[in-house]
Amino acid sequence: MKITLKVWRQGGKYKGEFVEYKLDNVKEEMSFLEMMDVLNESLVQKKEQPVAFEHDCREGICGTCSMVIDGQPHGPQKATTTCQLHMRSFKDGDTIYVEPFRAKAFPVIRDLVVDRSAFDRIIQSGGYISVNTGQAQDANAIPVEKDVASMAFDAAACIGCGACVAACPNASAMLFVSAKVSHLAMLPQGKVEAKKRAQAMVKTMDMEGFGRCSNVTACEAECPKEISVNNIARLNREYLGSVFASEKIV
């Protein structure tokens, strides 16, 4: 396959622009990132600075890869991270735009690499259950309904990649935040702190400069783990409940 890439380059000698690269020998079986590897190898051969992009597990679970491919975070294939996207999803002769996740809360570090530490700070503000090591009771002491555990898992499947923010016209982080709030609020172990958690996490999310959710649902459409926007409704519910029903002021 022949592929033309228009890759966003920023940092070093590049001010922030698309640079065109032509690749002549792309194989259908290559993953998208392996195609980027081939590009970088050729750049290194020419003693140029390779394109910086983040990646790690290449199994679709670590959440490190962060590219927008032809306007879609993680590219055109549904429920697939960039590392699991293969070149057979493209046609010979295609021109592909490769850009970083863009959002004010995700500043570009270099080329396709962005800083997603805002997500960590959101979790730090309350995305946990406060239990010290050794305090736990027996694991089977509290039964959890199978379906509830399964729903909690669906929310907990979030890989923290940030595609939801990149896809959202408002750069909102509601899907990410709601997935964590839902995961923990649905389980009896997490219910104790649910109210405080919802308020604290929303507060941090707002401070980090993410946009406001307007229920566009592009987040769910692009989420590689297909996290549902129902979680956002649950977060809204938890939040409203905690603001109006709880006597605690956060």
Binding site: G71, E99, A103, R212, S214, N215, A218, L240
Partner: protein, 237 residues
Amino acid sequence: MNWFINFLGSSIGQKVIMSLTGLFLITFLAVHLTGNLQLLVNDQGEQFNIYAKFMTTNPLIKATSYLLYASILLHAVQGIVLWRKNRSARGGQGYARKVTKAVGTNSFAASNMAWLGIIIFVFLGLHLYQFWLQMKLGKVPMAEYNGEQVKNLYVLVAEAYSNPIYVAVYVFSMIVIGYHLLHGFQSAFQTLGLTHKKYTPLIKGIGWMYSIIVPLLFAIIPILMYFNIYPLSSFLH
């Protein structure tokens, strides 16, 4: 009260304002529509004018109307604030190509609510200038029913709808409102957290129907009046 102000300033609080005012405006549309449909009564506007008089003089409805004005303003102002906030959150550099997909909602409507809203707001200005302001300034001829003097608002409307340009503007605006509702209706419930596996499909179904039927009925009135078709008969006599 600090907690309440904090809530109103929070991202979810701001959205709740949009949701509640939006839902109120949605119900208002239905009320407004029942009034407007009376324009299609073949009684030279008698029923419509009497209805209009009732709506402008009943104190309870008057009070509600102030709530309505406030809602419209709040919905618009909050909408603009959110829009600006969201544009800045997106950052200066846009995507070279952008595909916005959506799940269970209309992606065009969902991602263009602000633009749709602005068009509706402009239309609303025109609409208020043309009917509401004229009525308030008393530049409306009077009609007499059962010995009672009533403002003949019907004449004003019929005059406007004899102008094909205005009919076109009106119909276009209704399409815009339809799109705005298409997303807004169900979005309001989502924002309030009112979702449920069993009932959400119902809400969405009603939302779809509402956002097609209500603007359609609104739009059909000027078209029929333009062609002098009055299919309904009065229930006054």
